[in-house]
């Protein structure tokens, strides 16, 4: 059963107990993203403080993968310099598009490395990226450098 590789404990934990969930004020920009095939959606807000990511808050509906990866996202980027957050974004996107051939760097992605197994299922990659794309889009809307 390959399934355990995808549904790592870390993922199921984040799914059952998502971090940072809920839409909060204040925020600088908001992004709404949808997965057109399954209807999963996320609304995500970003609050910057200088070049720091002060807060990321979100709401939405979706599968375990999309919900858990958004939860992991908040852990990885909130309170970090924007540049570092965007580096993590790049690393996560690279991991997800790697079809299981990319060795994730735990120092950069922390809990995010649990998604390495998801990368082997192309149909789920979009799920894992949903919240991340919203983050990237929201940052762009703040006028911050992307």
């Amino acid at each position: 059963m390959q399934l355990q590789q995808m549904y790592q404990e870390i993922i199921l934990d984040h799914y059952k107990n998502p971090h940072g969930r809920g839409l909060r004020d204040p925020f600088d920009a908001e992004s709404f993203q949808v997965n057109p095939t399954c209807g999963d959606e996320v609304t995500l807000r970003v609050k910057l403080d200088g070049d720091q990511v002060a807060d990321v808050s979100y709401d939405g509906q979706g599968c375990s993968i999309s919900q858990a990866s958004t939860s992991v996202l908040t852990d990885l980027v909130v309170g970090r310099p924007l540049a570092e957050a965007l580096t993590k974004f790049e690393a996560f996107v690279e991991l997800m598009h790697g079809r299981g051939t990319v060795e994730p760097d735990e120092d950069v992605l922390e809990d995010g490395i649990a998604f390495a197994g998801v990368a082997k299922y192309p149909a789920r990659v979009k799920c894992a990226l949903l919240g991340w794309m919203a983050f990237k889009d929201a940052v762009a809307r703040t006028g911050g450098s992307t």
Binding site: C38, E41, I65
Partner: protein
Amino acid sequence: MTAVTAALDVDALRADFPILGRTVRDGKRLVYLDSGATAQHPVQVIEAERAFLTEHNAAVHRGAHQLAEEATDAYESARARIAAFVGATPGELVFTKNATEGINLIAYAMGNASTAGPEAARFVLGPGDEIVTTEMEHHANLVPWQQLAQRTGATLRWLGVTDDGRLDLSNLDSVVTPRTKVLAFTHQSNVLGTVNPVEPLVARAREVGALVVLDACQSVPHSVVDLRALDVDFAVFSSHKMLGPYGLGVLYGRQELLAAMPPFLTGGSMIEMVEMARSTFAPPPQRFEAGTPMTSQAVALGAAVDYLSAIGMDRVAAHEHLLTVAALDGLAEIPGIRVIGPADGHARGGAVSFVVAGIHPHDVGQVLDDQGIAVRVGHHCAWPLHRRLGVPASVRASFYLYNDLADVDAFLAGVRETKRFFGVA
């Protein structure tokens, strides 16, 4: 095994579908329950296309050489057999690339009517006119009408869906009115399985003078359908859902309507005369078949309807009914399952969609896939329907003639395993 499945001899049938013999996900037997999306292809159909391409291939309706004659004969003979399969005549059948194009063809031809000649007057739409569809449509039978409304200024209205997944006809007379120019609805829902009552809908459309467009994508592959007897004006279905190749759809239109309707796609083979400044057009069905047609695909769909006819569509329907009822009964015994759509086998086809309390459909599909069971997850191109029923997405198992009760059993076991895997009671 009951008498009906024995009668169909699924084991023998399955041998015609090489893909069913393969394994997936580390050696698991493939349980293909996604025929509602696309069906698998029997060797007879693949072989018919290969034989055409390696023995008779040429451009149809154009050449004067022997291959061109043979190719034209094969193409037109296929059209005649496919027409007969749905109770129509060859002149009433237009080949499109899929059912989606067929619906767009009608919508665009109606849009073109305003700048076409007077014989197209009955197709003209404008502000004050209404187009009626339903809340259970596939996007293919909704978005083209939204767009037509947007282009012409007509208004889009729709019939609702009841909580148990039936068309709500209680306000039929107030939704379909003398302002209605088109009534477009699905014969059989690709999500709910619901078979809609064509008769009262056609009767109301006739009363008010509306054109009836039937989406027969899920009925023609799975049951006996006589389009003439149903008395609809237009109907569409897709080859790839009925054992035929991709890239081919069928539009049926009543002869007199096709004869009066302006063209949609224009170019070669659909003209009568072409000058630099203007053109005139051929009679139907050629008028609606611009460019080089889906020649070998039509030949192959001809072989597919021969294959289905040899089995008998009544037997196909009976077989699927048996599997559907077994699946519905089995799901009813699993706690936390909500089937969306009719819960029993009455007036429904073999699409069984459901949600599992506490597990997202994507995750259900993933665990089923891991066991070799191919279902579809998502909104199945019927997003408004899912919204109406209060679910973001669903899991759909859909059956065809090559499925058997062992597939249903595997599916039910798979659903139970999914709940176990996610620790949901």
